[in-house]
């Protein structure tokens, strides 16, 4: 369904992505792991054109384009088929929770207002915020804000949702409520790419785990393969650092 190939990106002379490939099938939950600075965020941002890649191609259903020379039309098409959940939520501060969700419907997709409100309410109900329709982002906790972020993403009925460390800005006691919703979305078969450090989530939910380091995909496979018998030394080292009780069989 989504194929990205040879994605390269440098900031000045810092080569952040070195020909990264990724394939996602419908219904996949792809979890991207990797140490800080390995280029996970940059990769995700390149897919949604928040960052302009220096090179690489994307094939998204019937849309096919060069990442560096994509036309504004193509970018718009890809953005309308996808959604993005940010580490720091990025809710529209001047809009209520409900308006945050309707914005992409009424303005970008020309959905009639009444219908958009229906859809938005359903999305907010789904993330457990039925009582917060009219709250502004400042009036919500981090976990609630991120759930609005997720509602905003699912409301547009995207073919894929990109999550960039959706829980890492949250207080530990709020992480669970967000992960729970993401698990539900996975169960419904929503396709997602998730950058996260939540190993339990990766082990339980991922259909595919990708380990990135130094701007390349070091290794990818099923959670079982990656977490129990990683092939690459770098993967092992990373897992040992991040999972204290990690032991693998060679």
């Amino acid at each position: 369904m989504l194929k990205v190939k040879n994605v390269s990106k440098a900031f000045k002379d810092n080569q952040v992505l070195k020909k990264v490939d990724l394939e996602v099938e419908k219904g996949d939950v792809v979890v991207i792991l990797g140490p800080s600075g390995s280029g996970k965020t940059t990769f995700l941002r390149c897919i949604d054109f928040l960052e302009k890649a220096d090179g690489g191609e994307i094939e998204f259903d019937d849309i096919k384009t060069d990442l560096n020379h994509a036309s504004a039309k193509t970018i718009e098409k890809i953005r309308k088929k996808s959604a993005f959940v940010f580490q720091n939520y990025n809710l529209f501060a001047n809009k209520t929770a409900l308006q945050n969700v309707t914005e992409g419907l009424t303005v970008a997709r020309k959905v009639p207002k009444a219908e958009a409100i229906e859809i938005a309410k359903k999305a907010l109900d789904k993330v457990g915020l039925s009582d917060k329709y009219d709250s502004y982002p400042v009036q919500l906790s981090g976990g609630q804000q991120q759930r609005v972020g997720i509602a905003r993403a699912i409301a547009v009925n995207p073919d894929i949702i990109l999550f960039d460390e959706p829980t890492s800005a949250l207080d530990p006691e709020l992480v669970g409520e967000v992960l729970k919703i993401m698990r539900e979305l996975a169960k419904e078969g929503i396709t997602m790419i998730v950058v996260t450090h939540e190993m339990k989530f990766a082990q339980d939910v991922a259909t595919k785990v990708v380990f990135m380091d130094g701007g390349v995909v070091v290794e990818e496979g099923s959670p079982k393969e990656i977490f129990t018998k990683p092939k690459e030394e770098r993967t092992r080292e990373f897992l040992m650092r991040i999972l204290p009780d990690f032991d693998y069989t060679i």
């Binding site: 949604d48 054109f49 928040l50 718009e76 953005r79 309308k80 996808s82 959604a83 993005f84 940010f86 720091n88 990025n90 809710l91 529209f92 501060a93 001047n94 809009k95 209520t96 914005e103 992409g104 303005v107 970008a108 997709r109 009219d134 709250s135 502004y136 982002p137 400042v138 009036q139 905003r152 547009v156």
Partner: protein, 237 residues
């Protein structure tokens, strides 16, 4: 020292007649400079090319020179330049020296205000995190829609306190329009004062009128800010 209260009363009433002119200059200046300054601030943020360099140069030029000097410059240069353009270049017969002096005042104050407001709007736009622009893009909004619906409304609210200061500064600066022979508050009182040498009385009345006008403007801004910034309040609305 004994103040001539009768003269003060008369001067106060006479000078009030200048208030509409002060407001007229202020409002027309704002109407001219706000949209221009806003688009200059946007162009400075959006493209780091030649146009933003020109904007930067212009802002430094205006901010680096006293407004009195700008008034003197423009007031000596503009009429004869316009006259030359109208008569010799376009061959028209309009007598530019008969044009209402207010027009010059508005031109000078606009040129000045555009520079001040460009910086003001640029920093206000900067207070709205870039993340919201990105989020708007990812839900499918165009850049224009994102600016219009998400970024600019917040930037305006962020700009209000400084905008209030700028408007008050502008109102006070309009007193300099007397240099261009515009009959506003200051010019009227000064003339009254000169007729009887009651300068202190006249100056007190000028001060009083400006204090009243500026206080009203401040209150107005406070009301507007309260109305528009509901989304910033933590308590439930």
């Amino acid at each position: 020292m004994k103040l001539n209260t009768e003269f003060m009363r008369e001067t106060f009433i006479a000078s009030l007649g200048g208030v509409p002119k002060t407001f007229l200059i202020t409002i027309l200046t704002l109407l001219v400079s706000i949209p221009i300054a806003f688009s200059m601030a946007l162009s400075k943020l959006e493209n780091k090319n030649v146009s933003s360099k020109i904007v930067t140069g212009y802002v430094s030029l205006i901010r680096g020179t006293p407004i009195v000097l700008q008034i003197l410059f423009i007031y000596s240069l503009l009429p004869s330049t316009l006259n030359y353009l109208i008569k010799d270049v376009f061959g028209l017969s309009y007598n530019i020296f008969k044009m209402n002096k207010i027009v010059y005042a508005i031109i000078v104050f606009s040129l000045n205000n555009i520079a001040v407001l460009t910086e003001l709007f640029r920093s206000a736009l900067g207070t709205v995190g870039h993340g919201q622009m990105e989020a708007a893009m990812t839900v499918g909004l165009s850049k224009r829609q994102a600016y219009a619906r998400i970024i600019i409304p917040q930037a305006l609210v962020a700009a209000l306190p400084n905008l209030c200061n700028t408007v008050i500064g502008l109102i006070k600066n309009t007193s300099l329009a007397f240099l261009m022979a515009v009959q506003e508050i200051t010019a009227i009182s000064k003339m009254k004062a000169a007729s009887g040498y009651y300068y202190i009385e006249a100056y007190l009345m000028i001060a009083l009128i400006y204090i009243i006008v500026c206080t009203v403007v401040q209150l107005l801004f406070a009301v507007i800010e309260h109305q528009l910034s509901g989304y910033k309040k933590r308590l439930a609305v």
